[in-house]
C-alpha cells in the first residue's frame, strides 16, 4: 500500500508542477503555429505572476488577481508582437530582450508594490476544489480530482485550444499563416491581425502559468520565480509535436519527472536524481531526431513576413 500512497503523491505533484509548464507550452504552440517564436515565455510568466500577486494583494480577491495577471500577459504579448511583426526584429533576440526586460521590471515593480519586506506579502489564492464522486476514487481521486481550479481551467483551455486551432475556420487560417504567410495573404487571410491575436493569446497563457505559481502554489511573488519554466515549455512544445493536447501531455510528463525526482531525493538518495531531471530533455531530443522536426514544425516559424518581397 505504501507504493500506492507514493504513486498518489507523485501524481498530485505531477499535476501541480506540470500545470504552469503546460499553460506556457500552450501559449508557445499557438504563437509558433502562427509563425512566431515566443522565446519570451519565461519573462511573461513573471509578468503574469506579478500581475496576479498585485491584483490579489490590492483587492483581496484571487479572481481579480487572475484577471490582472492575464492582462499583464496580454500586454507583454502585444509588445513582443510589435517587435516581431512590425519592427521585424529577429524573433529570438526580441524574446531574449523581453525576458531581460520583464525580469528587471517585475523585480523593480514588486519592490515598489510590496515594499522591501523580505519574502514578500502573502496574497489571497485559490483553494483546492474536490470534485464530488471522482475525488473519492482511490489514488487518482485525491491526486487528480482534488486540485486547484486552475488545473481544471488548464484542461478546459487545452481542449478549447485544440478545437479552435485544429477544427475551426479561424484556426485553419492561423495555421496557414504559420506555414506560408504569402499564400495565406493572397487568399485574403488577415496575416498580421491573426499573428497579433496569436502572440497576445500566447502571452496571456504564459501569464496564467505565472498566476498559477502565485495563486495556487506559493501565494507570494518572488523575483525570478519562473525559474526556467518558460524554457522548459519550449521543450514541451517540441515533445508535444506542436499540438495543444500533445504539448499539455508533454508538460505533464515534465511535471511527473520533476515530482518523481523530488520523491527520489528523499526516499533513495543513492540513485542520482538528476537522471529524472535530464529524462524529459533527452526524450525531447530523441523525439526531435527520430520523428524529425520538419514534419510537424510550422514551415515559416521564425521568418518575418514582408508583404513587399517575393
Amino acid at each position: 500500500m505504501v507504493d500506492l500512497v507514493l504513486l498518489g503523491d507523485v501524481l498530485a505533484g505531477t499535476a501541480r508542477l506540470g500545470t504552469p509548464i503546460a499553460f506556457a507550452a500552450l501559449g508557445g504552440v499557438i504563437a509558433e503555429r502562427s509563425g512566431l517564436y515566443n522565446i519570451g515565455l519565461e519573462g511573461q510568466i513573471l509578468a503574469g505572476a506579478l500581475g496576479a500577486a498585485a491584483g490579489s494583494f490590492a483587492t483581496g480577491s484571487a479572481l481579480i488577481g487572475l484577471g490582472c495577471g492575464v492582462i499583464c500577459g496580454l500586454v507583454s504579448g502585444l509588445f513582443l508582437g510589435y517587435m516581431s511583426i512590425r519592427l521585424r526584429i529577429n524573433q529570438l533576440v526580441g524574446g531574449i530582450a523581453l525576458n531581460l526586460l520583464l525580469a528587471g521590471l517585475t523585480a523593480f515593480l514588486s519592490r515598489q508594490i510590496f515594499g522591501a519586506q523580505a519574502g514578500g506579502a502573502r496574497v489571497e489564492g485559490f483553494t483546492q476544489v474536490r470534485i464530488p464522486l471522482l475525488s473519492d476514487i482511490p489514488v487518482l481521486g485525491p491526486s487528480l480530482f482534488s486540485q486547484d481550479p486552475l488545473f481544471y481551467l488548464l484542461i478546459g483551455i487545452a481542449v478549447l485550444a485544440w478545437y479552435w486551432l485544429m477544427k475551426s475556420h479561424k484556426g485553419l487560417d492561423l495555421r496557414a499563416v504559420g506555414e506560408n504567410p504569402k499564400a495565406a495573404d493572397l487568399a485574403g487571410v488577415p496575416v498580421f491581425r491573426l499573428q497579433y491575436l496569436a502572440i497576445s493569446i500566447s502571452g496571456a497563457l504564459a501569464a496564467l502559468a505565472g498566476a498559477h505559481l502565485v495563486l495556487s502554489q506559493v501565494y507570494v511573488f518572488a523575483e525570478g520565480m519562473s525559474a526556467g519554466k518558460g524554457f522548459i515549455a519550449l521543450a514541451a512544445i517540441i515533445l508535444g509535436r506542436w499540438s495543444p493536447i500533445g504539448a499539455v501531455c508533454a508538460a505533464l510528463f515534465f511535471g511527473f519527472c520533476d515530482a518523481a525526482q523530488f520523491k527520489l531525493q528523499f526516499s533513495s538518495p543513492e540513485v542520482p536524481y538528476q537522471l529524472f531531471l535530464i529524462l524529459p530533455y533527452i526524450a525531447s531530443l530523441i523525439a526531435l531526431v527520430i520523428l524529425g522536426a520538419k514534419a510537424s514544425a510550422p514551415a515559416s516559424v521564425g521568418l518575418p513576413y514582408d508583404r513587399e518581397h517575393r
Partner: protein, 361 residues
C-alpha cells in the same frame, strides 16, 4: 545603411534606453544623473570596480564569440551555456586528474580539455543541423539543461570534495590558477586571453579563404554551393569553433575565479553571449567592447544600489531596453531579400545591414 547612420542610430538607441531607465530611477525617488554617474565611474574608472567588470566580461566575451562564429555561417548557437558547463567539467576533470604538471603545460592543456568538451557538446547539434536539417536553436537549448544537470550530478557525486557542505569539487592545483592582471583584485588574465582570440578570429574571418567561406555560407548558401563550398563541413567547423570557445569560457570560470567546479557555476553567461554578439553586429573585434559594456552595467548595478539605494533591477530593465532599441534601430525601414536569410531561420537582422549596404552603394 552606411556605417555612420548605423552608429548614430545605435547611439540614439543607447541614449533612449538610458533615458527610460532614468525615469524608473526617478520613480524610485533618486536622482538619475547621480545614479548613472556612480554606475559608470564605479564600473569603468574605479580600480576595484573595473576589476569586477573585467571578471564578468571574460566569460561574456568568449560566450559572445561562441555565438558570432556559428552565426556568421548561419547557425544560431544558443547552446553556449551548456558548452560552458561541459567545458568547465572537462577542464576541472583534467586539472584534478593531473595536478602535478608545470603551469606552462598544465594551463594550456586545461584549456584544450575544456575546448574539446565544449566542441563535443556542440558537435551534436552541428551534426544534426548539417546532415539531418534539425533546428539547431531547439537542440542547443535543450542540451543546455542536460549539461547543467550533468555538472550538478558530477559535483554532487564523483567529483564531490571531501567534507563539502554543499556540492562542489576539490580545488584545482594552485599552479593552474590564471595570473591576476590587476594586483590584489580578482581580475584574471581571462579577458586578455579572450581579447587575443577575438583578434585572431577577426583576421581569420577577414583575410583567409576558410574564414570567408563561413560568411559565404551564412549569407547565400546557394551561391556558396555553386562556388564549390562544402556547406555541411563549414557549418560543422563553425559550430565546433563556437563550442570550443564557450568551453574555454567554462575553464576560465574554474581556473580564473572559483578554482573549483560548482553546481550552477555559470550565471547565464551563455545567454549574455547572445546579447554581446548581437550588440557587436557579429563582428569579433567589436565583441570585447560590447562585453565590457554589458559586464560594466551588471557589475555597476550592485554598486549603484549600495551607494545611492537605487534598485539594481533597474539595470536589468535598461539591458533589455538596450537590446530592444538597438535591434529596432538596426532594422532597415524595409527588409531585404528573404531568400538569403531563409537558411538563417532568424529574422535576418544580422545579414541584413551588410546586404543593404551593398544595395545602397
Amino acid at each position: 545603411m552606411n556605417s555612420l547612420v548605423m552608429q548614430r542610430r545605435v547611439a540614439v538607441a543607447l541614449l533612449l534606453a538610458l533615458t527610460v531607465g532614468g525615469f524608473l530611477i526617478l520613480f524610485d525617488g533618486h536622482n538619475p544623473f547621480a545614479a548613472y554617474k556612480v554606475l559608470f565611474f564605479e564600473s569603468f574608472l574605479n580600480y576595484w570596480g573595473f576589476s569586477n567588470t573585467l571578471v564578468k566580461a571574460s566569460p561574456m566575451l568568449l560566450a559572445g564569440l561562441a555565438v558570432i562564429i556559428p552565426m556568421r555561417a548561419g547557425v544560431f548557437n544558443i547552446g553556449g551555456e551548456g558548452q560552458i558547463y561541459i567545458g568547465g567539467l572537462f577542464g576541472t576533470v583534467f586539472a584534478l586528474a593531473a595536478p602535478d604538471l608545470p603551469a606552462v603545460l598544465g594551463v594550456p592543456l586545461i584549456f584544450l580539455a575544456a575546448a574539446i568538451g565544449g566542441a563535443l557538446w556542440a558537435a551534436i547539434p552541428a551534426y544534426l543541423k548539417a546532415y539531418r536539417g534539425t533546428n539547431e536553436v531547439i537542440v542547443t537549448l535543450l542540451m543546455n539543461f542536460v549539461a547543467i544537470h550533468i555538472v550538478s550530478y558530477a559535483v554532487a557525486g564523483p567529483l564531490l570534495a571531501e567534507g563539502a557542505p554543499y556540492p562542489y569539487s576539490k580545488e584545482v592545483a594552485e599552479a593552474y590558477r590564471l595570473p591576476i592582471v590587476m594586483p590584489r583584485s580578482d581580475a584574471h588574465a581571462g579577458f586578455v586571453f579572450g581579447l587575443s582570440l577575438a583578434l585572431i578570429l577577426y583576421f581569420w574571418l577577414r583575410f583567409t579563404p576558410s574564414g570567408f567561406q563561413l560568411d559565404l555560407v551564412g549569407r547565400n548558401a546557394r551561391a556558396a554551393a555553386y562556388a564549390g563550398v562544402d556547406q555541411k563541413k563549414t557549418i560543422i567547423r563553425a559550430m565546433l569553433i563556437g563550442g570550443s570557445l564557450a568551453g574555454m569560457a567554462g575553464a576560465i570560470e574554474v581556473i580564473g575565479l572559483k578554482y573549483r567546479l560548482f553546481h550552477l557555476f555559470s550565471d547565464g553567461y551563455g545567454y549574455d553571449g547572445i546579447v554581446v554578439a548581437f550588440l557587436a553586429a557579429l563582428n569579433p573585434i567589436v565583441a570585447p567592447l560590447t562585453a565590457l559594456f554589458l559586464a560594466g552595467l551588471s557589475a555597476g548595478a550592485g554598486t549603484m544600489q549600495r551607494a545611492i539605494g537605487v534598485d539594481s533591477s533597474v539595470i536589468e530593465v535598461v539591458e533589455g531596453l538596450v537590446v530592444v532599441f538597438v535591434a529596432a534601430a538596426l532594422v532597415a525601414p524595409r527588409s531585404s531579400s528573404k531568400s538569403i536569410l531563409k537558411n538563417l531561420l532568424i529574422g535576418g537582422l544580422f545579414g541584413r545591414q551588410k546586404h543593404s549596404k551593398k544595395k545602397e552603394a
